[in-house]
Symmetry: C2
Subunit: 214 residues, 2 copies
């Protein structure tokens, strides 16, 4: 499977206003989103399981990959395409053992060393960030605002596809792709947009422009 995601939606009901996560995901699919990650920090595993089954039906119909944040067991339970792991989660190697060669295993990194380690461990793609300032509370100091120079350095250091994440908007997405990211991962830029479908389209256009300008 191609893991060069241009637009990548991370779900977050807390930042989706009155809209359901399923509605936001459907709008993003209509706008051409390339991948969806079930995150929903703060929800229980049971809640994520029920939501994940709904998202699996929606994304499968559209041919869009679904990955699950953190939990390999949940990914299997909802028949997701893979998982996305961070420093606090189970290792990439464990996910590969449990999910098999065909699964998508993503890894969050914030440094060149982290990118190299993830590639060596067998990750399929990276989430690099936080690129810009973000109000997300699960970003440690050393991971905050790594900037476009770090994106360029990680592009030099790894052959893996990667998306930039953290503080990315329609306005700055082009710069992230121009710096070397294959795409952008967002929560609020889609979930909190007036028109999530249009926002997804605009993010895709911005990424295409940035990649073309390299």
């Amino acid at each position: 499977m191609n893991h060069q995601f241009r637009t990548y939606l991370v779900t977050g009901a807390a930042r989706s206003g009155a809209r359901s996560t399923v509605d936001v995901v459907q709008a993003a699919i209509d706008g051409g989103v390339d991948a969806v990650q079930l995150r929903e920090k703060g929800a229980t595993a049971r809640e994520r399981y029920h939501l994940g089954r709904e998202l699996r039906a929606t994304t499968r119909d559209a041919g869009v990959p679904l990955v699950v944040n953190d939990r390999i067991d949940l990914a299997r339970a909802v028949d997701a395409d893979g998982v996305h792991l961070g420093d606090d989660d189970l290792p990439v190697r464990v996910a590969r053992e449990q999910l098999g060669e065909d699964a998508i295993v993503g890894r969050s990194v914030s440094t060149v060393e982290g990118a190299r380690d993830a590639e060596a461990a067998g990750a399929d793609y990276l989430g690099v960030g936080a690129v810009f300032r973000t109000d997300s509370k699960d970003v440690s100091d050393e991971q905050s605002e790594v900037g476009l120079d770090r994106v360029r350095a990680i592009r030099e250091a790894t052959a893996l596809p990667f998306v930039g994440i953290g503080g990315i908007t329609v306005a700055n997405a082009e710069s992230v792709a121009a710096a070397g990211a294959d795409g952008v991962a967002v929560i609020s830029a889609i979930t909190a947009a007036d028109d999530p479908r249009r926002a997804t389209e605009q993010l895709g256009e911005a990424v295409a422009a940035g990649r073309a300008g390299r």
Copy 2:
């Protein structure tokens, strides 16, 4: 495997004082503990993974079953004997699918209906509670202090083995077994004891007395 655990230790570094969880588990094993559950609420999955591998080595040497709270993927990753699930976790059926027929799948319940549902879903044993008042913060109102009458009612309602949990001490363990529990699950009664090995022995003796008196 026999799932009639007389003494069942739930790990909790926060209530183990200066002792490491591995040391507490070894002392409980020396005192004859019948099962160990890796819980460690508040630890990351990565931290639980490393601790779980240590506990697996310790418990395997002693022939003591190790189950992992909540996470099926973590149970597989550390080669545990099974998982223990609650209302907020993935369903028993999912654990059975992912871990297989030989795995131990436990379920927390606080009502007769919950016990029947867990038995129907294929659980191997139950944790019934909270039997007594407990300062544990992950107990909802309806689960708090269900009392010995509830233990008796659940004993009538199910053929599954079960341990009482919640506020259990050396002083009250006999009453829990006399009411129908096969054993007792504890955190502090072992982890915070002056002598965790002796506390485990005393809990086992209290349970034996309670079972003999039925």
